[in-house]
Amino acid sequence: MNILDIQDLRVRVGPAEKQVSAINGVTLKIAAGEVHALVGETGAGKSMLAKSIMRLLPESALVSGKIFVNGIDCLELNTKEVTNYRGSVASIALQNPRSSLSATRTIGDQLVDRISNRTKVSKTTARLAAKNLLESVGISDTRRTMEAFPHQMSGGMCQRIMIALAISSKPSLLIADEPTNSLDATLTENILQLISDYSKKEDAAVLIISHDIASVAAISDKISVLYAGSIVEQNATTDLLGDPRHPYTKMLLDSVPKMNGLAVFSDLGSMPILSDYPTNCAFTSRCNRATDACHESKPALIGLFKLHSLACFNPLDKENAKKQLPTFTVTPFSKVSTDKNPLLSLKSLTFIYKGRFGSKGFKALDNLNLEVYEGENLGIVGESGSGKSTLGRILSGLEKASSGQVSGVVVKLKLFRNIFHEPVRDDVQMVFQDPIMTLDPKMEVWRSIIEPLLRQNLPKSSIEERLSKIIAEVRVDASLLARRPRTLSGGQAQRVGIGRAVISNPMIIVFDEPTSQLDVTTQAQILNVIRENSNSKTFTSVYISHDLATVKSICDRVIVMYRGKIVESGSVDQVFNNPVHPYTRAMLASVRTLDNSEAREWEALLPEDQFLPLQRGCILFGRCPDSVSACQNTTQVLLPFDESHLVACSKSNPGSPVGKSSISERESE
């Protein structure tokens, strides 16, 4: 029995001059007890679909088609009926749970609002029901939570509360919109499990919307892939992941970073924003299998055998579906040469963000030592709060360290400030995280690209020459040069940013999370551009990221940071294939890849509920499952574990006396 039955839904939104055809003929059925994932990139129309089902579209939206929920077409309901429908028949756990909770009402009150909304219950009954609800989503301290306000809750708690709010009236259809955005791996698993449990227990239909296939794959029964407002492929989860027949599905799966290397990717396109209902297949411009039929008419979603539906005139066959793309070669260990003089050398570097009026301030970097060598691709890995961005800014000279020494062979360090000119280290450039914000919105893009050259006083012809050379190398089309940043897509803008970084032939380029704000397919494009350029040019690159797979595919050497300190460093090969520090191991264990072929068994770290004050001893103490009392008092130092593999853990590292004994312990187990 299908709880959700969408039939040829078409939605157009926007003001008269700028209409967007957001949903173009979606047909979708979800049965009771089924967990269905809707996957797509930015602009595909996922949120629009959710809003349509919940009747939350703006009044000016043009909607056609039918959406049956529990047998009733929700598009036909009048305003009063809609209020009854929402929450009890269909409900949604919205994106950004923190901002979706009202800041001025307690959690308890917000729960009671929903519970007592439809049926008259006494206040005590409602509060008791609220507490039960909180327990069912995994919140144990219900009394304190009921009286708390949203801003006092962590992100994970907010997400749980959002789910509690959504399921409070036991809806037959639950929509979860990006439920795991910005949550770490353990929480993600937890939340997804909650959603799955609800479905099984109440025999409800669940629609999970996500841009991250890897995380939702674990609990979904079926997956639908959305592109430019239409579903292009739909199948049982394992079949879709293992045997994708639509070229876009395949592209999507190929772009997800894998631990075995970076795939060579030639696509440069992005999701089109359609202003009219499409008369042909929207993917054609990016598809290398496009035929004439694809240009002429729009393929319909046709059900094939079993649970598989496909909208394509020229789908992949089994062989092509399973084919892996060629990858860039992984750097062998020998390339890492640490015997020459380093380009940049940081000793005992500390950086403190000053607090406001009385609070002590926040130590972003703590007594750090680092060398950067010529020609290498150094990766800096860590979660948010580890200090990696601050380190990047100090390396480039944008920030001055609070204490410690920065020196180098080639670079002239004139870190003084005067009112006319603040020279930073010569020949260092940076690629930033938000591609569009980091370009001057009032300047045409070509001006931004050539800006680093202005200091050299080159003749106009040389500048033009360099410009055309660079845009070819970063694959920026000449037609984009006269545009303003806001009219570019994320991928285009980031390529412009890379062009700006390489144009003056800098000695070092620092990449600060250049792909974290981009969609998967765009990420793959950018990583390709970066990799090609670092192969063909001689600059040293420092790549900062929280994504281990991309770091593995781009870098030779890597350092792992946690709360301002380096916990482990070595070649990519050493650290990723043989991690020693418990933090590194836990990070690697949480990497969710599609293949899951390298599922690790290492123990996860205990969750971090509060920010523990920094102690003298190991910063991981309290979270590390292996910690002993000695760890609390010994200052951890980076010591060699194996050749150039350094680890700062007195227990696991045989370089230290504590470590030696524990290693032999482990071996004897």
């Binding site: 209020t83 009890s88 409900s91 919205l94 979706s100 009202s102 929903r114 801003h151 959504a166 009236s169």
Partner: protein
């Protein structure tokens, strides 16, 4: 902050060109008279001595004597300030009620006729000089309709009220004085109406903008998405969140009123603080000016303090 204000006051006043003694005694005074008066007022001593005396006196609560009347300025202030305060507070109170109601209505009926009308009215209100508004109201209500007494003072002649707070309206309530109550009320009517019309404009606009923001916010949509609606939705999710910016705005408006109340007082001959201050300013009556400036700054700071407290009550995210 207070130190800055006090010093600034002293300096500001001393920078004023013009000679209070000469102004007081008139152009026909003899040089000897002027010297005598200057010495008597202590104005012949060096500046830093004057400043020291000033600060010391402050600590004793002695703000000096008015050069014009010779009476302690604090006493004079006490006589007229409550009346002004009464006018300001009553007007602000009414304006807040009107402002919140119209602002919320406007936001809930966005783009409909009532919204447009309200917005148009606020645009006019923002363009209206209060002194002229007062005159027009006098023309209409007194000149043509005759339902309001002549604009002079706060009570009809012959009616008195025992002085408890110095505010006639409040005092008449406290002493159950019916005639005084009606009389002061009628005198309050036009000035208050003038002020309310002018200051409710920014209040309506601010509330409207806040309310629209709330309606478009994630949390409001989330509440709707879970089936909440009607009056309960508005009461629990809209109102409080829309009022968050109100305390600060009220403090700013309070300060603004304190500064420009002289305009309304002049039109209605209210004999209040504004007029007293203006006279002192024109005649270079230093103690008066000093006390004026310090009073204004003092109340301005208090207003913001109260606003902060109310703000933190409304918004649980703030801890003072």
């Amino acid at each position: 902050m207070l130190v800055g204000v006090v010093t600034f006051t002293f300096l500001l006043v001393r920078i004023l060109p013009g000679d209070p003694v000469g102004t007081l005694l008139g152009p026909n005074s003899s040089a000897q008279d002027r010297i005598d008066l200057t010495a008597r007022l202590g104005l012949d001593r060096p500046i830093y001595v004057q400043f020291l005396n000033f600060v010391v006196d402050l600590f004793h609560g002695d703000f000096g004597k008015s050069i014009q009347t010779g009476r302690p300025v604090v006493e004079e202030l006490g006589a007229i300030f409550p009346a002004t305060l009464e006018l300001i507070i009553i007007s602000l109170f009414l304006a807040l009620i009107v402002g919140v109601m119209l602002g919320l209505t406007s936001a809930l009926r966005e783009k409909k006729l009532s919204d447009r009308l309200i917005r148009l009215t606020t645009l006019v209100g923002n363009s209206m000089p209060e002194f002229w508004m007062g005159l027009i109201l006098i023309l209409i209500f007194y000149g043509w309709l005759g339902i309001v007494p002549a604009p002079s003072g706060r009570l009809d002649t012959g009616i008195t009220v025992t002085n408890i707070t110095g505010m006639e309206f409040v005092d008449s309530i406290l002493t159950f004085n019916k005639t005084a109550f009606i009389s002061s009320g009628r005198h309050l009517f036009l000035p208050a109406l003038t002020i309310v019309f002018v200051i409710s404009a920014p209040i309506i606009r601010s509330i409207r903008a806040s309310a629209l923001e709330v309606i478009a916010s994630d949390s409001y949509i989330a509440a709707k998405a879970h089936g909440l609606g009607g009056l309960a939705l508005i009461r629990k999710y809209l109102i409080r969140n829309s009022l968050i910016s109100l305390p600060t705005l009220s403090a700013i408006i309070f300060g603004f009123m304190l500064g420009s109340i002289v305009l309304v007082e002049t039109v209605f001959a209210w004999q209040g603080f504004g007029q007293w201050a203006l006279k002192g300013l024109s005649l270079r009556d230093y103690p008066v000016i000093q006390l004026t400036v310090m009073t204004v700054a003092f109340f301005y700071i208090i207003a913001f303090f109260i606003a902060d407290v109310v703000h933190s009550i409304l918004d649980p995210r703030i801890n003072i």
